[in-house]
């Protein structure tokens, strides 16, 4: 069983590393990730939301829908722990 797990891990690792062939080098300012959407965030965030911290602007407003579900995830974690551990008092 352990050999099978090791083979699966090795295969996944090789496929992952094979995939990194086409990536831009680390820290390269011309990489696609730094050219397509994020420059607009950096330039427009302060003008459109008056919030100097661009990460909070994206978190709260541009991608606020994600953060709403994020709060629901942490809420579910607290609730699931209560459901699993607490014995009913009634």
């Amino acid at each position: 069983m352990k050999a099978l797990a090791f083979l699966a891990t090795l295969a996944t690792g090789i496929v992952l590393l094979y995939g990194t062939r086409d990536f831009a080098a680390w820290g390269d300012a011309a990489s696609p990730a730094s050219r397509h959407v994020s420059p607009v965030y950096i330039q427009q965030a302060v003008k459109q939301t008056h919030v100097p911290n661009i990460v909070t602007a994206i978190l709260g407003d541009y991608r606020g829908y994600d953060t709403m579900f994020e709060t629901v995830v942490i809420y579910c974690a607290g609730l699931a722990v209560i459901c699993v551990l607490r014995r009913q008092k009634t």
Partner: protein, 159 residues
Amino acid sequence: MKLLQERTRDRLAGEDLIVRTAVRLLVPFIQLFGLYVIVHGHYSPGGGFQGGVILGSSFILLALAFDLRTSLRFLSVRVNAVLSNVGVLIYTGVALLCALAGGLFLDYSALDRILPLGPVAWRSMGIFLVELGVGIAVMCIMASLFWDLGSGGEMDEGL
């Protein structure tokens, strides 16, 4: 779980005085700093999640240095449950309010129709309200997670 609690109880005899007084002095400032992190999410690194965890950790520190009952004295289980609901309801409530005020879901500038502050100012205010809701929810849930995991659900005498 019981064996663990006996061992922690007899260890408390000697050197807890230093720890307890230090914690008694520290906790208010930790909570003040947590509030600062939530409120200053706009201007400095931080925001709802980070500030909420700092506030939650102040209650965890109380439970560690003293005992679970002291921590519960400051934030009881019932208040904790209600506050975590209030925190999440603030977020979804603001989101729904924007939709009901005629704009799109989560569009804070739509709130301008209710209280005219200017659409861009409302976006900044909307982010602040939302961060506040997240901070409250994360504070309560972090504390309740520790209490439950620490005491195995009995909420009697944690670690």
